[in-house]
Amino acid sequence: MPELELAGPTETSDGRFGAFGGRYVPETLIPALDELEDALDIALADPAFLAEYHALLRDFVGRPTALTAAPRLSARVGAPVWLKREDLNHTGAHKINNTVGQALLAMRMGKRRIIAETGAGQHGVATATICAKFGLECVVFMGEEDMARQSLNVFRMKLLGATVVPVTSGTRTLKDATSEAIREWVTTVRESHYIIGSVVGPAPYPRMVRAFQSVIGQESRRQLLERTGRLPASVVACVGGGSNAMGMFAGFVDDADVELIGVEAAGHGLHTDQHSASLSKGTPGVLHGAMSYLLQDAFGQVHPAHSISAGLDYPGVGPEHAWLKDSGRARYVAVTDEAALRGVALLSRLEGIIPALETAHAVAWVADAAGRWAPDAPVLICVSGRGDKDVNTIIQHELPSV
């Protein structure tokens, strides 16, 4: 049975990644976080739990997902490009890897009420899906602005029996949906489990979500070795909160020769204040329970993020990414809204795969970096999700010719 990546080399015993991470939450939540941490460590060491988790990934989610060669994109890039197909998961994105694991954990803790936040709606759908399967009550918080641009996912969540609560405070996007989900958790902490959708939040959430997403990196590593006999030169993934990237990086962080590249959303450009590039342009600060890089003003007020992609539209980022950046182990770059649309067109027309706008950021960066790799150096892209949810956004723009 494949193992889960429990504690990576970057982790310290107090739930920190170097100076980042921690538990900056109201006192009310501390005992719940202690309980969660204990339950997590017991579960991850329990063969019965791991067997159930992996059986669900196989029989319900459809894992392992394919590793697909991308020959026409490779010709453009000048190196063999490989695609890890998280878009082929049940519900259409990597998010379900995490919700399956956390739902099993919630039930082990005797909690049958689940709270979640969602931006693009993929995490909300993945949570609603597993809650439906296990008969758990599901309440999803979603910004009003995101509900408008992701109406299809709102409908899917309701169809699955979840309650979707519109969030009207602040910027009405993922940031405020997360705050509202935390407020709900503080209020109902004795009976509810909060399934955070990314590698953010107070310890042990970043480590736990990374553990449940590490299946992406471990499968990719094994598959690429089988197919090519070598490791990738570079691994590329988009970063909003950073869960698909962290799951992918977890498989390669110990391979010192593998370059790890996270692609943030540059929105209208890094020279503007309309982007979501917390690692590229932010400074350390505290949001939603963790110390990490953050878009903020000189007074410590959080600056609203912008991205064409609702899933990357978040002013913070997972603390382990902050640590990987400062330690130099991973490199973080950023790609504009306009380039992301080019990424959608490229992968759709060259490879027959319509990617999510989030994923398209990673595709666009690789395409723009054509020529930087040796002709035989594999480049691995995490296709974090499929683009069906984004057609309402994409249709409003003219796609570039490829």
Partner: protein, 272 residues
Amino acid sequence: MAFASVTTSSDAAGAHALEARFTTLAGEGRKALVVYVTAGHPDRARSAALLAGLTDAGADVIEVGVPFSDPLADGPVIQASSQQALDQGMRLDGALALVDEVRPHAPVVLFSYLNPLLAAGPDVLARARQAGVSGLLVTDLPVGADPEREAWLGSDDLAFVRLVAPTTPVDRMREIARHGRGFVYLISRLGVTGERDALAHDLPETIARLRAATSLPIAVGFGISTPAQAREAAALADGVVVGSALVRAASESVDSALAFVRQLRAALDGAP
């Protein structure tokens, strides 16, 4: 008076002022009325007028809230007041300037989320004390979460007030009390700030557990919205904190806010 060394600044500054206030109240057999207001709400002028009037209306301790963009421990009333103050440019520095200008006679406790304090720089504690602040309360920095920064926040002559929740186990209550100064802020119920119809049913039991764990005065807050509730909670503790209900009154007018504080005072002092 116990703090004869204070010369030019108001006699209500520094940690000793807060400690002295609770000692005096205990000596008189009275309960502390701790009130919360958001700095700059509903606007700077009215916020200053409210601050200036609170002591005479009967407040013993004044918590001055620093507006923050993401107040995840606050309910709708304080969230809205915070946003309104931010929209008009109120920040941490502005809150300190406001306190300095008004110099309320009751001790002031700065009530903030961690991020604005971090952004304000290492001299923010000294600046707060010079502005007349006596104590500091940080909503999202529980005991043990960040020992280095907790040591920093407790390093100046400001009382670093810590919070206890209904979920806190008794061992942890002792640990929290050991790190706290001034008083212990007991969160009366699960959830965020906001008005409620009744006190939490397990409040007497929670207070009894906390009482066994600390000799610091205990002030109970979260959801205390009426004079009757204030009186009921105060009977169990050393004081009560009233926030959202006062902020809502302040949205109407300074006069209604001050009238509300007078009602709370009367209820605590046992007026029939």
